[in-house]
Symmetry: D2
Subunit: 358 residues, 4 copies
């Protein structure tokens, strides 16, 4: 790729914004060209506006960039967005109407009928819903979203099972890392020597998003999967990595070996050469006490989901544990991979991409 | 009570042994008269043999006591036991055969048909099973057990619901404190910035013990509750207090208010005047993000179970969160309350008790 | 005491405000009669205005009290204050001018020449400086302060040594609990698996306050102790309890036994019967790895300082470790004990006190 | 390098042994050819013998290697050792006498007069002491050691200052990560919500090793630096990364800028092309609240020391904070870099190295 695609970041100073910057350093296709954040940050150098909380240094070039106002004027045509839902509800349509491809981690439009909610390994075909968006016809712009950080690991582990055996009931309990709440986010007084068994709206998001992601495009809309799902969401004293305990009822019987096989065979993006796609999206951990966040969250450079402890469930059919990195696979990396898939499909500024790939 | 009942502690240097000592300081009915631990400790002063890990000082009188060999000779007739299952399997019958009332926190005999597994608020009537034990006829001695630390909170929250509405299915995920694994127990490298989604044999214990505790004495045996149950057990970075997420399917419909009422009305020990019985065994926390271990584990001086977040479950009927202090209510306090109930029923050295209560 | 002294709390919803409420429940001399907080809370019931973070229940009577505006009109004549320095700078003089005894934990006036900075066991005689305050002459009101949470443990451990041997140089490194920063205070992202080697202005406060506390009243001012002092302040992943490593150079030689003796003999309040005064203000921990926050912070009901590891220092003379509970001894309890000393000296609404003590 | 140098690892299943394996994966000069551990592990596959605790996968080739008995027969001529001091005292001389270059992280011989204690950036010239070892004359074998994990960061930060300004007094307080105690090491009950202000023998090691490392070879022995030093060592709830607060008295005056310059200029290995040598051994962090373990421990791929908060000290001259990764720079990486320096000096199996470098 000769010329990289310039991208802009909406919400650049937040935790996910910082992850975009970290992960896009040396990205072969994309280049950060524009950063926007709240009015308070606008006009400052990024290095002064952001309190960098990641364990690799803030790239010097980015530190020197000036934070722009959060307006379409002057922004590039590809926008990575991660802002509060209330703000996203106003801003993201404004950018789409101005002709931008808004690839978003925000929750505002995930459940909108004509907005694709996508995990490339799971339901890339849902991207066609962008053609249903009014802005697409008018300006070429559109919104594409990725799921909540707790949903994404679950759905990646479920998809290979749903494909082969069908899923009828899903029971999930999460133990979520503090980075999922942003910065400053969870107060240390709330999490040291403690568990908080509540995360506002999280259970509702997981339940609704999971069924939409596993659903099918049917004419002009996505039909959600017909299955039952219930979620219990908890916050625990972990920096990065959401752990989830899952029980499943299947539509057709499956042996342990068949489920392991389904996970092992699951490589839906093989051959597409997307830079952020993990070689093995769902990795099996054979040790009896895994996956664990500190030890497994970086598998597949943070983009793989690790599953373990597959065993029979007394109530449903099977139970297991899964883990995924909530700010990489579950947020910034999810957006980037969505953008990569869009680029490879020619939906991301076709001319620029074609030039760049030549 | 004029004269206290002398009791001995088997496994006195362990974490639960230390809690017995802490909780029995100033107990109105019981007095520590004898301490036993492994051969390594035998003959030493307790203050030298034990690495005291609790946040109140080791009582001076106990520190000066000499640790005895773990043999019935010279031991008092009431023994509080908390030792590894393999050791309990040998030792506890030896003490029972020698005429001791062995009130045990060990797991070895919990599921034995003629050994009562008891929570006083739940199934005190199971105590009659001691009459089925051969030692009881011969020497007067017997074994009574309390459940695993993760089982006890669950069963206390379930009992009032089972009584009024019947329970058909139980789904539970635990987030358990490190003190449950004893000392040194869980390595810090395994729990800082981490979750361990596995505790050896814990899920099997929870599943089996719960049904026995909620079962009925039928002739010479306990018939376990006919219900389905599945458990997912996890270790988290909390010092004390097990948090559990529960979903339930009931046999008869219940409204939210009816369940709250059932918990509120649950005072089965009212009037018995057992020193360790909490006034309100199941406490309701109305805040949306409770119970939490750091804030709620000491309710009822560590003997109450706190419940919260009662809400409908998409798959079963209701879901909620519960919390109990795993080394007080879930271990040492459970043994003590069992012993108190035995004493009040005249089954603990009847003569001594009668004298003491006069 | 027949009638309790009514007191008001300025900053009632903060972490220290909550501790005042917790610690004053059942206080034999004082009774909470008035609560004030920010404008946002004013007019609400306290139970709704405050996010209660302590591990004992919010007293029901207090939960029902209405939060008052932070103005002297309608406030009682004794005020316990813990508010941000900028706010304290305005408010505390307003209350003093209105005739209130402002017993404050705020930092605003600690170093003011005519404001006593007091630890009852250390320098109760400094209280006479209140007579130098203009408000005292005019309205009878005045301001008395207690030190920073990291200073107080240090000075209590130093005082007995300073008295007998003189202190020339003090080297101290702190490892401070997160509760010292209030709520929400330290972000969990900043402290899980981490240390923050910086607390704004903390080193300067410790250095200046320590010398003032160990100084002498000389005419109309306090002459600080002539000694060198340097502090390194750090935040660590502990909920409550500040640990401090100290090296000292003495003016006159002292043996290990003499220093232990000085600490053991230190009971300057013996006989005064102040309810919050610990029997043994400086407790010695003989184990080689103590004091530790989780195990020792509650000694003396949180009002004692624990010292340990006294050993020779290669550079100065002696080194040791100390620990104190930062929100009890180091904040709310410090204010209460100051108020108790003022009451016993007849400086707290003399008439009311006299009536109450009768 | 055509042929890599085969190396063996003594203590391969421990925490540092695991780090050797992780860090040597893809090392350009060295190749793991032999693994030894305790008798219990001998004969097993490494993947079964070791409980792998690192966050990258155990290399498959190593997992399949058979653990050898800890004896020189069959071992390669270069041994990386990290075993308990008592074991090292027996084994390391046995390997040296058998002709091996023993590059050790163990503490047993660090202070022996004829054993070099080396940090390549600091005192590579001390390596000549190996010629004083009897084994060197007889078999060619020798022992070289690296310092304790808490010493190494301190000495790297001090060396550039000592060179330019001389150091007269050193005051240091450490806050050390749990990984420094190995696995299982520190119990979780001891460190959650806690600080342990004691690490056995650590203060003595830091004090003695620092002066030897900063000393000069004088004839047949190393003359330690003539300076005063006192250490306070603490364990905190951090996985990896030791934080240290330092105060220094210099022999000649230095401004803040001069000290920053000394650190910035410190590149003693520039031009040597040692694979593990960090480009900038001492990195300056300009933010006021840095360095922090979670954010800075991986600088220079874990081989750099980060310094920050340089400011005047009221008692000595300057104070600052430093941080280093205790199991990379402070242990396994230290051994590897020592071996690289030995190789580049032709002291590591000269023939093999020459062949390999050709």
């Amino acid at each position: 790729m000769k010329n990289k695609i310039p991208i802009g970041i909406l919400g650049a100073t937040g935790m996910v914004g910082q992850r975009y910057i970290q992960l896009l350093e040396n990205h072969p296709w994309f280049e950060i060209a524009w950063l926007a954040a709240s009015d308070r940050s606008s006009g400052k150098k990024y290095g002064e506006a952001a309190k960098w909380r990641l364990d690799t240094p803030l790239p010097r070039r980015v530190a020197e960039m000036t934070v722009s106002p959060a307006e379409p004027a002057g922004a590039p045509k590809v926008i990575f967005a991660s802002v509060d839902a209330a703000i996203a509800r106003e801003m993201e349509p404004a950018f789409a109407n101005a002709g931008c491809a808004v690839v978003s981690n925000s929750s505002a439009f995930r459940m909108s009928p004509n907005v694709p909610l996508v995990i490339p390994e799971v339901n890339g075909d849902h991207l066609e819903m962008i053609e249903e968006q009014p802005s697409r016809q008018q300006s070429g712009g559109y919104i594409v979203t990725n799921p909540n950080c707790s949903t994404i690991g679950l759905v990646m582990a479920l998809k290979p099972i749903e494909e082969r055996f069908g899923i009828e009931q899903i029971f999930v309990t999460t133990m979520q890392a503090v980075s999922g709440a942003g910065y400053p986010g969870v107060a240390s007084m709330d999490i040291l020597d403690n568990v908080v068994p509540y995360i506002g709206s999280e259970e509702e998001k997981m339940e609704a998003e999971t069924l939409k992601l596993l659903g099918r495009v049917d004419g002009h809309a996505v039909q959600p999967l017909q299955a039952g799902i219930t979620a219990h969401c908890n916050r625990v004293a972990v920096v990065d990595g959401h752990t989830e305990c899952v029980s499943l009822k299947l539509r057709r019987p499956a042996t342990r070996e068949q489920i392991l096989q389904a996970w092992g065979d699951f490589r839906p993006l093989a051959g597409r050469d997307l830079p952020f796609a993990p070689e093995q999206p769902v990795e099996w951990a054979e040790q009896p006490d895994r996956p664990q966040p500190r030890l497994d969250r970086n598998r597949g450079r943070g983009m793989a989901v690790t599953v373990g402890r597959l065993r029979p469930c007394n109530l449903l059919d099977w139970k297991f544990v899964l883990l995924s990195h909530n700010t990489v696979r579950g947020a910034a990396g999810a957006t980037i991979l969505n953008a990569e898939l869009l680029a490879s499909l020619g939906k991301l500024e076709p001319a620029a991409v074609a030039a760049a790939r030549a």
